[in-house]
Amino acid sequence: MALVMVVAFMGATVTGCKNKPKDADLKTAVETAIQANPKLTASGVTVEKGVATLSGQVPDEATKEELGKAAAAVPGVTSVVNNLTIAITNVEIAADSPLAIAVKDATKDFPTVTATVADGVVTLKGELQKANLQKLMMALNALKPKKVDNQLVIK
C-alpha cells in the first residue's frame, strides 16, 4: 500500500513538472528579459525549481529593482532572489600608510624637499635652507618614524 502511494506520488510529481516550464527555459527567458537593460554588467542567472537568482552589477538601486521585477514577470518564475550589486562609482584608492600621509603634510611647506617613506624610514632628498632644517626635522621626528634618512643638500 505504501509502495503504491509512493509510486502514485512520484507519478504526480513527474506530471507536475511536465506542466511547468523547465528551469533551463526559464533561465533563457529571464536572461532575455534582464539583459535588454544596457545598465546591467556581468550578469548571471540561475533558475532552480522556478526560483530565479540574479547576480551581476548595476549602477543604482532603481535598476536593481527594475531588473528584479522584469525577472519576476517572466511566466513560470515563482520568485526572484535579487543578488544584483550596486557598483560603487567612486573608486576608493587605498590610502597610503598614515606615516606617508603625515610626512606629506609635514613637508608641504618645503617644496624643495622630496620625502619618501618605506618600511617606516623617511628618506629626504632635494635641498633646504639650513634655517628650515631643524623645523622640518622636529616635525618629522614627531611622526614616530623608524628613522629619518636625511640626504638633503643643505644650503
Partner: protein
C-alpha cells in the same frame, strides 16, 4: 649602547632639564628619545642634537619631544608658517577640503586636539576647522 655614548650629552641634558616621561632606548642602530617638556627646553635639546650631529646627517636619532602637551583648549596659537597662509580644513588631513585660511602670524584659538598633528582651531573671524600643528605655536 654606542649611540648612547655618542649622544650622551643630549641624554644628560634631557635628564637634567627634567623632561617628563623621558624614554631613551636604542634599537636597530637608531636612538629613540621621547618625552614632554616646554618649548624652550625642546629648542635647547634640538640645538644640542644638531651640534652633535651636524645637519642631522647620520640618521641615527629619532627625537620626539612634545612641547605642546600642556597646551589646553582655549589657548591662543600663532600661525607660524614659513610664508604662506595656513589652511583650515574640514577634517584632520590634507585630503579634506579647505574651509578657510589664517594669515601668517595671525593668532587663532585652540578648540580641540584631534591628534599630535592636527588641531581644531577657530579664527577671530569665526572660521573653524583643522590645521596642521607644525605651523601653530602657542603664544606664551
Amino acid at each position: 649602547m654606542a649611540l648612547q655614548e655618542k649622544y650622551k650629552e643630549l641624554i644628560d641634558a634631557a635628564t637634567a632639564a627634567g623632561v617628563n616621561e623621558l624614554n631613551v632606548r636604542e634599537q636597530d642602530g637608531v636612538l629613540y628619545i621621547d618625552g614632554a617638556t616646554s618649548g624652550a627646553v625642546k629648542q635647547q635639546l634640538w640645538d644640542t642634537y644638531e651640534r652633535l650631529d651636524p645637519n642631522y646627517a647620520s640618521g641615527d636619532v629619532v627625537m620626539n619631544i612634545n612641547s605642546v602637551a600642556g597646551v589646553v583648549e582655549g589657548s591662543k596659537l600663532k600661525v607660524t608658517t614659513n610664508s604662506s597662509n595656513l589652511n583650515i580644513r574640514k577634517g584632520p588631513s590634507t585630503n579634506d577640503d579647505i574651509v578657510g585660511k589664517a594669515a601668517r602670524h595671525e593668532v587663532v584659538t585652540l578648540v580641540g586636539k584631534e591628534n599630535d598633528q592636527w588641531w581644531l582651531i577657530k579664527t577671530d573671524q569665526g572660521e573653524q576647522g583643522y590645521s596642521f600643528t607644525q605651523y601653530l605655536t602657542p603664544v606664551e
